[in-house]
């Protein structure tokens, strides 16, 4: 298999398989989670200001008082790389084109130099967070294989995408194929790992906020 055949495979059957597993996993898990149901809380609801599902969805995006000072790397690094990933995935021209081809939606792209810069900043934030995870004894103790694995699965597509556009290490064709392949690995892993928080995040926040809101506790 030469490099163009490899690229064509990643753009063809590889993508087909990855998107298939992704859809299968996402639908399976979402349906499973949302049909679990909970018993009705028969206690009379208490009302308190700021206690609701919607409040919690937003409040959990901000660090609780004092936490920013205690673990600045987690919060600032976390913000940077999440926003960075969103910019790269949703505002990079080739990515928008892929989305348009898959679901028919399209919007304007950002210049490729800006996407390149965002990739560098995102990777820097991710590396700092990895170093922090290794350096802090508590974080290291709490980390399992899944944490290291999902970090790598998220990092490699950004790295290969950036290296492809910058023509580093390997010829563009091979690097592009590796980039697409790594993104496909990410698609396959996502529904079955903690990366699924991309789908469950707001639902679970709403749930927690709602349950506690019923008790009159703003969380």
């Amino acid at each position: 298999m030469n490099d163009l055949q490899f690229l064509t495979w990643t753009r063809g059957p590889g993508l087909d398989i990855a998107v298939g597993i992704f859809l299968l996993g996402v639908l399976w898990r979402l349906i499973e989670i949302y049909t679990l149901g909970r018993k009705k809380d028969l206690a009379a609801p208490r009302h308190a200001a700021g206690a609701s599902g919607l409040h919690t969805v937003f409040r959990r995006s901000l660090p609780p008082p004092g936490m920013l000072k205690r673990s600045p790397v987690s919060y600032i690094g976390g913000y940077i790389f999440h926003i960075g990933l969103a910019i790269i995935v949703f505002l990079g021209a080739p990515h928008i084109l892929l989305i348009e081809n898959l679901v028919g939606l399209s919007w304007p792209a950002l210049p490729s130099q800006f996407i390149g810069l965002t990739a560098v900043v995102t990777m820097a934030a991710m590396v700092v967070m990895l170093a922090d995870r290794i350096n802090k004894p508590v974080k290291r103790f709490l980390s399992t294989f899944e944490d290291w694995f999902t970090w790598a699965v998220t990092f490699v597509p950004v790295l290969t995408g950036w290296m492809a556009t910058q023509h580093l290490l390997l010829p563009y064709t091979q690097m592009l194929a590796l980039h697409i392949l790594s993104a496909e690995v990410l698609l396959v892993v996502l529904p079955f790992s903690k990366l699924f928080h991309g789908f469950t995040l707001f639902g679970s926040r709403w749930y927690n906020g709602r349950v506690n809101g019923h008790k009159g506790v703003p969380v």
């Binding site: 163009l4 993508l15 021209a93 081809n101 898959l102």
Partner: protein, 359 residues
């Protein structure tokens, strides 16, 4: 047409100055030092017609057309007058047994010294019967001719990589020259067709230095195939700005915006079209408004649609809908199982009374 090239050119009205300019251009295009232009001029001017045998196999003659016509009449065309093109079916006057005799005479007289140029792929299916010349299969002819060659130049994507005959499902079992010839230096000059100056550049290099130019991992001269079309494209700034033509005749297309979304394969195609251009520097595919097809890359014909962007799926998704249905089904099944488990647990639940605890 005997004697050194410079005399031949002089007879054709090409001045020494024009010839030197040509050599300097060629040297700079091949990324050789400035002095190489002069060395090239001297070597080529004095060169004594090396024997060249050109074998056409499964091909469309597009490569020959490209090299003999698109620049005609220019120095490139005349370079062919100074090599002794002893066998070229399209160009030679001889035919039939005469032609075969010319081939064998050239091979015998110049054994070990002639350059072998091949265009077209070689079919191996049905013992090579898909393409025969003078009752012999291409694979036989190639093996015999390659054995006595100083070097082999594979002209065009078919000879270099198998090209269109090798495209899926490859009915004739077509292969490239390098699939068959292992013991001779091979230069691949892919393209469908290749750029004339690349061809003459390689010949000039051989005549000047007695060696073949530096090649990349696919056997292509690095000086011409070192960069991608995308890297050298004059529309590149628009790619970087995120400005893309959406159709072939929209405002973006008229403004010369990037053709990436229309399927341009420039980013994965190594060739010199963007710098050398075609038809004597007149234009080239991207400048004329059409994306690059990637014709100088192996298996370009099977690389997905010419009109699909590189980041778009090469084929429509086949499993997605089925996978979604299976996923939803699995979700529902697991959810039913969970409900059953919950209800069973509920049914099994025994109420504990105070009396039970006091037992």
């Amino acid at each position: 047409m005997q004697g050194p090239l410079i005399d031949t050119l002089a007879r054709r009205g090409v001045t020494r100055r024009t010839f030197l300019k040509y050599c300097a251009t060629l040297a700079s295009m091949m990324a050789l030092p400035p002095t190489a232009g002069r060395a090239m001029a001297e070597a080529m001017a004095a060169a004594r017609r090396p024997s060249v045998i050109w074998l056409p196999f499964q091909e469309c003659t597009g490569c020959t057309e490209s090299i003999t016509r698109s620049h005609s009449p220019t120095i490139e065309g005349m370079i062919f007058d100074m090599i002794s093109l002893d066998y070229q079916e399209t160009l030679m006057a001889a035919a039939g047994h005469q032609a075969e005799e010319a081939l064998h005479t050239a091979m015998k007289d110049n054994a070990g010294k002639y350059l072998l140029i091949v265009d077209g792929s070689i079919p191996l299916g049905q013992d090579g019967a898909y393409s025969c010349i003078g009752g012999r299969s291409n694979v036989d002819i190639l093996k015999e001719a390659a054995a006595g060659a100083a070097a082999v130049i594979a002209v065009g994507s078919c000879a270099s990589f198998g090209g269109i005959p090798k495209a899926n499902p490859n009915p004739t079992g077509a292969v490239s020259v390098s699939d068959l010839v292992k013991d001779k230096p091979i230069v691949n000059i892919p393209g469908c067709p290749p750029i004339p100056v690349v061809m003459t550049g390689v010949l000039a290099h051989y005549l000047t230095f007695g060696s073949l130019p530096e090649l990349d991992d696919k056997g292509r001269p690095k000086s011409f195939y070192g960069d991608t079309i995308h890297d050298r494209c004059y529309r590149r700034p628009f790619y970087d700005q995120g400005k893309f033509a959406k159709t072939f005749d929209d405002e973006g297309a008229r403004q010369g915006w990037c053709l990436f979304e229309l399927g341009c394969k420039g980013p994965v195609t190594h060739n010199a079209c963007a710098t050398v251009k075609w038809n004597g520097g007149t234009s080239w595919p991207v400048e004329s408004g059409h994306g690059c097809l990637g014709c100088s890359e192996p298996d370009f014909w099977d690389g997905g649609s010419f009109y699909k962007a590189l980041s778009a799926p090469a084929d429509p998704l086949k499993f997605a809908a089925a996978a979604a249905v299976v996923g939803a089904g699995a979700g529902v099944a697991v959810s039913v199982a969970n409900r059953v488990k919950k209800n069973t647990a509920k049914a099994m639940h025994e109420t504990t009374t105070l009396a039970d605890l006091e037992k």
